[in-house]
Subunit: 171 residues, 3 copies
């Protein structure tokens, strides 16, 4: 009975991530050719990400835990090894440039209780390499964020932010 | 003679990492299904990691240089792209939650001399994404470490640590 | 006509990265054996990286966007998941030790205008894990850089640097 209970739980659990896992796996097999840009977006659309097929140029490998909550605007470029957990909404505005190894996490662990908060990026945002955007963060349009920054609160003013945690460097 | 010497050295060197390399390679081919949780732990056990087969849920890809010095407790969850060098003991206590891209390094380079120091994590520790735990660090039970922190000394008090290097944020 | 224009642009764009993409892909399929050290360097040479075949021990996966601007000295060791963008010259001196997940970026985005600046590392430099070297940075010989540092200006003195951004810790 214990085994049946485990299998039943496991199947329910795995089904949540199956569509994302399958299509992100296929996406990561497609070479990073600009010529295949539309095919790559199409496969991401099949995984559940909300984007238009001719909208973005996204490089493999891309790491996604759950696709259905993710929206990507037009003219977006996402570099290698970007990681989206996607447990809550992650909305990337138009013409954003996401550097390699950038990480978007919507999950907080608080005393064993999980909390999910959305991430909202405006338009024309540039994220340097290896930035981490934490749960609940909103970033206004036209902001540049320096490489390696950890953004733990909303960015509502300024032009350049950076550091751990991120602070305004240039107004 | 020089070639023979090189081959002899290379074979000795490669044999040290062969078991780890082979089974971690196989581990990383297994899909991240909860249903395959036990199989995944079993393959990690074959690689030389000290863990019980029904103890942990560990996501691929996992990066391990040397498995035999690593011990993982019960109820542990390890997210994608965690990196353990394993040149000295790395002990992860029970019910720890390790975020994606967390890195555990036991090797110091000091004026071309290598120094190896163990890492010891207690129970119920939560590591945010992209944390680096440096050689020799011990972390007490029930600590939460913020994303992107670099832990370079023992954590013996407090509830929340974070920053570069990590400092106590909440007692 | 719009489609023809896209295809023509895409082919020109992809041809720039084709040689790098192909040979780095092959490189990353070769197991990390010391015995295959020369073969691995040979494949990197074919990708366009400037190095001598018996000079370096470089672990897969290696992430390279454009190989032709990269030079690697003798006795260099590069650990897993190092990332070189290679849009401008990246010169790594002799006997450097590059930690895992170290990142070398030569591209600045400034108000939609791209700017490329070279990176120059001297000899006997040791980079800890997950360091980011930003565009235009020169680092003098015999410097050690702590894990997780972000180097945004030239390092012309001192022995140990670290932090975000990197500061001199030991003269």
């Amino acid at each position: 009975m214990k085994i049946l209970k485990f299998i039943s739980f496991a199947i329910k659990f795995d089904l949540i991530f199956l569509r994302t896992g399958l299509f992100i796996f296929i996406f990561n097999l497609i070479p990073n050719l600009y010529l295949l840009k539309h095919l790559k977006c199409f496969v991401l659309k099949l995984s559940g990400i909300n984007l238009t097929i001719n909208s973005a140029f996204i490089l493999a490998p891309l790491i996604v835990d759950l696709s259905k909550n993710i929206s990507i605007g037009k003219g977006v470029f996402i570099n290698k090894y970007a990681h989206f957990d996607g447990n809550e909404k992650i909305i990337i505005g138009n013409n954003c440039q996401i550097g390699p190894f950038c990480k978007f996490y919507t999950t907080n662990h608080d005393n064993k209780k999980l909390e999910y908060l959305p991430i909202l990026l405006g338009n024309n945002i540039w994220l340097g390499s290896n930035c981490i955007i934490l749960p609940g963060v909103k970033i206004k349009d036209n902001v540049k964020i320096a490489a390696g920054s950890i953004v733990n609160k909303n960015i509502t003013h300024g032009k350049l932010w950076g550091g751990v945690p991120a602070k305004c460097i240039k107004e």
